[in-house]
């Protein structure tokens, strides 16, 4: 076993190459360093994406508005749990609610959009007064968080109540085709991931 290892071979071990090899591998690994790193920066990392999507769309044809004897052609509470989901409610920072109302009917109307908590208590209210056609599209943005209204309005919201009141008559008919009141809404909120 290993009978042919001669003294010359052992001498060769002591050559410069031996030292270079050992130094390069062992010493370089043992002396491996990490230069000028500041891992504390991780604490300053902020991951705050902004997500947006539609919330609620309401469409009320003029015939339906005229069909109601009372002035309110809708007063309804809609369950809306999206804002109450912990993944959102625990992490939302700020954002904007966007509303767009169009009226092609012959009568003025008032539309009230209310944020309700789990006990149906009103948290916030948006009131939109709409003139009869022809009129421009009503567009509104409401900010929450930061300099806007309290973000807890959003995080406490469990449902939405919409009330629409006909401020005109119940007999006239718009000359425009498919006359209706449409209500569009969307939310854009910034979330704290880290």
């Amino acid at each position: 076993m290993m009978s042919r290892i001669g003294p010359m071979n052992f001498l060769k071990m002591k050559t410069c190459a031996t030292h270079i090899s050992l130094l390069l591998i062992v010493v370089s690994m043992l002396s491996a360093c990490v230069k000028n790193q500041d891992f504390g920066q991780y604490d300053n990392l902020q991951i705050t994406p902004t997500y947006e999507g539609s919330i609620l769309y309401l469409e009320a044809p003029e015939s339906e508005i005229n069909a109601h004897d009372g002035s309110n052609f809708i007063s309804q509470i809609f369950n809306f749990d999206a804002f109450a989901e912990p993944v959102f409610a625990d992490r939302v920072l700020d954002g904007v609610m966007t509303y767009e109302i169009a009226n092609t009917t012959s009568k003025p109307a008032q539309l009230t959009f209310e944020f309700l908590d789990a006990a149906d208590a009103v948290l916030d209210t948006e009131v939109f007064a709409i003139d009869p056609a022809p009129t421009a599209i009503l567009y509104r943005e409401t900010a929450y968080g930061n300099a806007g209204r309290s973000i807890t309005i959003i995080t406490s919201t469990s449902s939405i109540r919409i009330t629409a009141e006909n401020l005109g008559d119940s007999t006239s008919v718009s000359s425009l085709p498919n006359a209706m009141i449409t209500f569009k809404s969307a939310a854009k909120f910034r979330i704290r991931v880290k």
């Binding site: 076993m1 001669g6 071990m13 591998i25 360093c33 990490v34 902004t50 539609s54 767009e100 910034r190």
Partner: protein, 477 residues
């Protein structure tokens, strides 16, 4: 200069997802028995060898392409949020990967048969993880979908694979004639853990709504398969992790089979061609298997209230209807159907030119430079060799390749070194060095890649080392 966070860096590199290790230093390093593991047809002259259990072969490799720890955490006064956004979120592409591989031999041995063939056998555990940068997921998580009207976030960016396998192997290496030596190794795989999600398709896009202000559309065909993960969680809770690993490592988990082949061919006395193909095989996952899928498409524009139909039922829950509709259109399902995974097959090849002094053979034979021309029909062994090597591995986004130039030097039969320069997707400045020492019957080797990176590990995108201890005999039993 601070030297303290080395462990942190190694942990980061290791815990990110790795690729099957390119062992360019070990390849064709014929003084080391483990060279047979990367080429079953490698030249050898051992009578027998035995690896020191658990110490015969230890290797670890970690690679990150496109970015380094230094790029993010250098103390350069820049805002970490800007660095992450510019260098990671938008700086990386879906071709960039984070990967790591380790291999630990429990035992490894070999002996020569009556017809001069060499039989080898052993058992090792291998872990392999690779993750391709999920760019669109990262953008969606970092920036969100706001003000990205029309942008399609590609859900196919999710490509990840990880596995932990115990491998039993038995191989034979035989010199067919004076020019050609071939080898083959059979492998039995005992799968311990497996996670893979590679063939994903789909997108998420936000557009102007048809009725409402915005429309969010998801079209998904996502699938993730796992094996052993549920049992792992239970074992972790019960404090029985050791039993879990032992059971699944010894055929109590998933089973598979495969083989390696390799050859060494002497074009002439000094020029040698080698090649090997490793891990041509599969694992049949049938134990604690779960498949998670998300498939379908849906477009939502919030809650739709269309009068007068919407008011026909005063108790109607529009929000829950919307949630139910999405879950119906894009269902998330879990199944437990068995599946097959193919091993990440690797290809090695090399062209080597030997020159310089002819060395005496350690074999107990009439061979070597003093034995006459081609003593006993064996090729002479030279002190020096230069050459080039090719490495390819099959990956979820297609084959990856590395090219290596090397210089191999023997100092008698006592010491051998191999230096390499390798170009791959991780680095163009990868210089490696391997050392094999033969002290009596004890063989020790240590190898490391990307040596220049050790000056600042945080700036490195690639780190790799191998080491081991063997007992080798050249004498007849």
């Amino acid at each position: 200069m601070s030297c303290r966070p080395i462990i942190f860096i190694i942990s980061v590199l290791t815990c990110t997802l790795v690729h099957c290790q390119n062992k360019e230093l070990l390849y064709d390093f014929t003084e080391i028995p483990q060279a047979l593991m990367v080429n079953p047809g490698a030249r050898n002259d051992f009578e027998w060898y035995a690896g020191i259990p658990t110490l015969s072969g230890i290797s670890l490799q970690a690679g990150i392409s496109g970015i380094s720890v230094n790029d993010l955490f250098a103390n350069d006064g820049l805002d970490i949020n800007d660095k992450v956004r510019d260098r990671a979120i938008y700086g990386l592409s879906t071709r960039d990967e984070q990967s790591t591989t380790f291999q630990l031999e429990f035992f490894n041995g070999g002996f020569r048969g009556k017809k001069n063939e060499l039989y080898s056998f052993g058992m090792y555990v291998e872990g392999d993880v690779i993750n391709y940068w999920p760019q669109d997921y990262a953008i969606l998580a970092f920036e969100g979908n706001a003000d990205q009207i029309g942008r399609r976030f590609d859900l196919g960016d999710l490509k990840v694979r990880g596995e932990l396998v115990n491998v039993f192997h038995f191989g034979i290496n035989k010199r067919l004639n004076n020019s050609l030596r071939v080898g083959i190794r059979a492998k039995l795989y005992s799968g311990i853990l497996d996670v893979r999600s590679a063939n994903n398709r789909g997108y998420f896009v936000t557009t102007e709504g048809n009725r409402n202000l915005l429309a969010n559309t998801i079209a998904a065909d996502l699938i993730m398969r796992t094996s052993g993960m549920n049992t792992l969680g239970e074992a972790n809770d019960d404090g029985t992790l050791t039993n879990f690993f032992m059971k699944r490592a010894f055929f109590g988990g998933d089973l598979g089979a495969g083989f390696d082949v390799g050859l060494t061919y002497h074009l002439n006395n000094q020029t040698v061609l080698t090649a090997s193909l490793l891990d041509i095989g599969f694992i049949y996952h049938s134990n604690d298997v779960s498949t998670y899928s998300l498939k379908g498409s849906a477009t939502i524009e919030g809650v739709d209230v269309i009068l007068p139909d919407a008011l026909s039922d005063p108790n109607r829950d529009f929000w829950q209807e919307l949630v139910d509709e999405v879950e119906t259109l894009v269902p998330f399902r879990t199944s437990h159907k068995n599946y097959i995974s193919f091993r990440p097959t690797r290809l090695y090849g090399s062209l080597r030119y030997n020159f310089g002094e002819e060395l005496p053979s350690l074999e107990d034979c009439d061979c070597g430079p003093d034995s006459g021309k081609g003593g006993a029909g064996r090729r002479a062994k030279y002190a020096n060799a230069i050459g080039g090597q090719l490495y390819m591995v099959n990956r979820p986004r297609g084959p990856q390749m590395a090219l290596t130039a090397f210089y191999h030097r023997n100092f008698g039969n006592v010491m051998a070194i191999k230096t390499t320069y390798t170009v791959d997707k991780f680095s163009a400045t990868n210089f490696g060095l391997g050392l094999s020492l033969q002290l009596g019957p004890i063989n020790a080797y240590i190898m490391s890649d990307n040596l220049f990176a050790y000056g600042n590990l945080a700036a490195s995108r690639y780190a790799s080392f191998q080491l081991g201890l063997n007992i080798i005999s050249w004498s007849r039993k």
